[in-house]
């Protein structure tokens, strides 16, 4: 569990369009790495390329290397399905499966893969995952209700429980709080702080206070203009980025003097 990601000279394309250019960085295990930057700078695209979700879009591909503990994720005989099993993802909008109960949503990763498990095993996974996502006490009496019966914040924590139930090495979060109210956001942020003891976490966020609160490392992405590829401007310890960044652009962005 909790592996390290090394990205080198990453170029990401949508068909002919170069969306992200020349990204190199290291994502440390058992830590939270935040991606910040203006809209369209490619931070979500980089995140999606980390578990090969980027190539789900027709015509999308990457150049360069992404390695998980030294193992190339884009090697010739690497199965993207296996990559996604070890690198989980939480999306911007909560997306529990509407046809499944809360219980079934948590073990969806096993059930959809036709993995056999006894009832006792399933119940144990459900309880540990829901406890891990700080949701157990709220839903333990209605596990058979549909997942969509929960509030937005609870649904998002259900999605996190679903992601950690398959015990990934890395957890990617694409603006997990942008559709949530401040109380639910706080619940998710507490959860992120707890999860980083066991997982490598990468989070994309538009909320700079959030990046400052939850992350250990922060990477700032920017783009020169519309139609230009996004680039990694700088990456450093979060305190350094928010107090004394090396680049002028970073300082302008985090202090709100941008564009």
């Amino acid at each position: 569990m909790a592996k390290r990601l090394d990205i080198s000279d990453l170029n990401i394309y949508y068909g002919d369009f170069l969306a992200v250019e020349g990204v190199s960085m290291a994502v440390e295990p058992r830590a939270v790495t935040a991606f910040i930057g203006p809209s369209g700078c490619g931070k979500s695209t980089v995140l999606r390329s980390l578990n090969r979700m980027h190539e789900v879009i027709p015509g999308a591909y990457i150049e360069g290397k992404i390695a998980l503990d030294g193992e190339d994720l884009y090697g010739r005989d690497v199965d993207p399905v296996r990559v996604r099993r070890s690198i989980g993802m939480v999306f911007q909008r909560p997306n529990p499966f509407p046809t499944m109960s809360i219980h079934a949503n948590v073990i969806a990763g096993m059930k959809l893969n036709n993995q056999r498990m006894s009832k006792a095993q399933a119940d144990e996974v459900v309880e540990t995952s829901l406890r891990g996502a700080n949701l157990w006490s709220e839903v333990k009496d209605r596990l058979n209700k549909p997942g969509s019966s929960l509030s937005g914040g609870q649904q998002q924590r259900l999605c996190i429980a679903r992601a950690i139930a398959v015990q990934p090495d890395v957890l990617l979060m694409d603006e997990p709080c942008s559709a949530l109210d401040p109380i639910s956001t706080l619940a998710i942020e507490d959860l992120i702080g707890k999860l980083k003891q066991d997982y490598t976490i990468v989070i994309v966020t538009h909320n700079m206070q959030q990046a400052a609160r939850v992350s250990d490392q922060t990477a700032f992405f920017n783009l020169a203009g519309v139609g230009q590829p996004g680039k990694l401007i700088e990456m450093d310890a979060t305190e350094k980025i928010f107090s004394n960044p090396n680049q002028k652009a970073t300082e302008d962005y985090i202090s709100g003097r941008f564009g």
Binding site: S86, F91, T99, L112, N113
Partner: protein, 366 residues
């Protein structure tokens, strides 16, 4: 900085937030009064008729409500009432043929629609005999339609899955879409001839069998299934597919267990619509399934009767020859009863589909 332009102030007809309001019962009362006025006038003239009273009564009502509302509630409310009147009238106009059709079929069909009719064949029945039923035709219709569904649902659904999940922008996908559209326009008699030509290849000229009818119906059914399923699969949010991918679920399992499962209710409805579309087909079955008086349950051997062909056959026989025990309209009566049976079968299938759809539809209950 440009100065902020104040929008030109609009003169409202009446300042303030209140306006006159007609009581809730006003439209109903006015409608009844309109009917009474028109009906009374015609009665006084001695030429009362229901359709004319309804027609002119609604026109009178539309004028009266427009005038009354303009004075009491204002011009906007009056236009609203007028639009409401037009909508309801259009709805009524659309329902008239439906109700009339059902009424006619019930009126003519109920006379011979009974247990005997449903369980007897036409074997040994001739002339104006008070006997005979549609059992053989009912079984034939059910078998041939079921087999057509068995052929066309897998083909149609797999095509729809390809179109939505694999080839939405590919050349093959566009080609398939085009030919599915072409297929929708195939006349049913041509589908019948096609099935005949196909079966002649295997069984020689003059072949008649239920399975050939199923193939003809499948040709008509496949494009409907493809189109309906395609729309339903497109409705499944992409986020659910991504959620499954991100859990390390392969694409085919995502399609089977997430996409199809989420769209199940709509898919069932689509298949039902396709069945309803073909269950009443007459021409292709007349060609390839043939006409027969006794029951035949074997789809692959011999002629098979179906309800639409039964209706057609009975109707074309016309009046029976008069005689001591002869009912001269018996053929027409049987045709109507069979038509009623066909409508009931479609209705029952629709009900079943609704129940299945309800069971499968995503639950939201809080």
């Amino acid at each position: 900085m440009a100065t902020v332009q104040t929008p030109p102030s609009v003169e409202l007809s009446s300042p303030g937030l209140t306006r006159g309001k007609l009581p809730r019962y006003a439209p109903v009362v006015l409608l009844v009064l309109s009917f009474a006025a028109v009906g009374g006038l015609f009665a006084a003239l001695g030429s009362f008729s229901v359709p004319l009273t309804v027609f002119l009564g609604i026109i009178l009502y539309a004028v009266v409500i427009l005038v009354v509302t303009t004075f009491v509630e204002g011009a906007r409310a009056a236009r609203d009432r007028l639009a409401t009147t037009l909508m309801y009238s259009a709805f009524g106009l659309a329902v008239v043929p439906l109700v009339s059709l059902l009424w006619t079929v019930l009126e003519n069909g109920l006379e011979r629609f009974n247990g005997y009719f449903l369980t007897t064949t036409m074997r040994g029945v001739f002339g104006g005999m008070d006997a005979g039923g549609a059992y053989h035709a009912i079984m034939g219709t059910l078998e041939i339609t079921a087999f057509a569904t068995v052929i066309s649902v897998p083909i149609g659904m797999l095509t729809a899955i390809y179109l939505v999940e694999y080839g939405p922008k590919s050349k093959l996908g566009r080609g398939i879409t085009f030919f599915v559209d072409v297929m929708t326009g195939i006349p049913s008699i041509v589908a019948g001839l096609f099935a005949y030509a196909l079966f002649v290849l295997f069984f020689g000229p003059g072949v008649r069998m239920g399975a050939a009818g199923s193939v003809a119906l499948a040709v008509l059914m496949i494009p409907v299934v493809v189109r309906a399923s395609e729309e339903m699969l497109k409705l499944v949010p992409n986020e659910l597919r991504e959620a499954a991918y991100a859990l390390g679920v392969p694409k085919w399992l995502t399609i089977v267990k997430v996409v199809l499962r989420t769209a199940a209710a709509g898919l069932v409805t689509g298949v039902m619509l396709a069945i309803a579309r073909v269950i009443g087909e007459t021409a292709p079955l007349l060609i390839v399934a043939g006409v027969v008086d006794s029951a035949n349950f074997d789809l692959f051997e011999g002629r098979m009767m179906t309800l639409p062909v039964f209706v057609y056959g009975q109707y074309t026989q016309g009046l029976a020859p008069p005689g001591p025990d002869s009912i001269i309209t018996i053929n027409y009566d049987r045709a109507w009863a069979a038509a009623l049976t066909l409508i009931l079968i479609v209705m029952v299938l629709n009900l079943i589909a609704r129940i299945i759809a309800r069971i499968f539809s995503p639950k939201t209950g809080r």
